[in-house]
Symmetry: C2
Subunit: 186 residues, 2 copies
């Protein structure tokens, strides 16, 4: 297993009308247009039962302040534990994708597909609405520094905060001098 | 589009016997057993042509020191630019998955599948070998802090380093007091 530093999200769905949540570190954007997100989950998950029921879900990005609650919903199964009271919850455009109000950012998703692998399922959703805490905006844009995202590092199973800016992406690489690089190819 | 802090990797493959690389921030583990990784890529990529050719690839995790070179291989297309000279490269068990020696960790993968979505392809590989820089080990385990992974934050398109440890995962959540929680369900 590789060693990775991953963002953590809280996946939410309603099951029989009640909000349920689980913690996911294996997720990624799948496309920009339309904005599509994918999350890997074990085969038996109450949150996925809820997603199949309503074909909606939420992806909530916790700040480091929410480490304890985020860890809690990852530790205990929704089959055994009623997790509807852990967070302050509201509903947005879709009406039944439970948003974690304590998170600086939440997105509402419509289920597009579930791709089944051997040991996991890839839940794919189109993002239909993005909610960002006003305090985490700078010039009306989401500000990742203000959001203070919770990161998960393994092995070692620890939560981390983000650190300082290192460089500008899509920019710093232009400075690189590569030997014998042909100018007309840039 | 949501705002995210993501680890960055350098995806490598050989194309017609020459190493080629591109930068990927949309990737995730897919399974633990066997260890399986998935990366999302645009439809036309020289690195994916190479993966289809050999059915092997490498995933290399750069440290913040490698920000400039990592950005470079993300800025320029392998169709126009020969990127084989950007990194010090070696080969491992698979023989044709180019490993970036400058990275604290690299994994060699065998292609398992390519799942085609509308605008992107999900390249899925089984990890067959993990290479970790000896200087990044603590008690013979990879140490994420020593690896100093390069993170990508959007919007804003900036690279960041990781910050301080916040809490222990799978542990801190046990302290949470949930009102009306039934003891026998824990």
């Amino acid at each position: 297993m590789p060693s990775l530093m991953l963002p953590v999200c809280i996946l939410g769905s309603n099951y029989e009308g009640k909000a349920n949540f689980c913690t996911v570190a294996w997720f990624t954007m799948i496309d920009d247009e339309p904005p599509t997100i994918g999350l890997l989950l074990g085969k038996k998950r109450r949150t996925v039962d809820g997603i199949r029921q309503n074909r909606t879900f939420s992806v909530n990005l916790p700040s480091t302040k929410l480490a304890t609650k985020t860890d809690f919903v990852g530790l205990y199964s929704g089959y055994k534990e009623d997790k509807s009271g852990v967070f302050r919850v509201s509903y947005g455009e879709l009406g039944n994708a439970p948003l974690v109000d304590d998170c600086p950012m939440s997105v509402e998703c419509k289920l597009k597909d579930i791709v089944e692998f051997e040991g996991t399922d890839l839940v794919i959703g189109e993002i239909v609405e993005v909610h960002v805490d006003e305090e985490c905006l700078t010039d009306e844009e989401p500000d990742i520094v203000k959001m203070d995202p919770l990161l998960y590092g393994s092995p070692g199973a620890s939560y981390f905060q983000m650190g300082n800016k290192v460089a500008d992406a899509f920019k710093v690489g232009k400075k690189l001098k590569v030997p014998n690089r042909k100018k007309d190819e840039n």
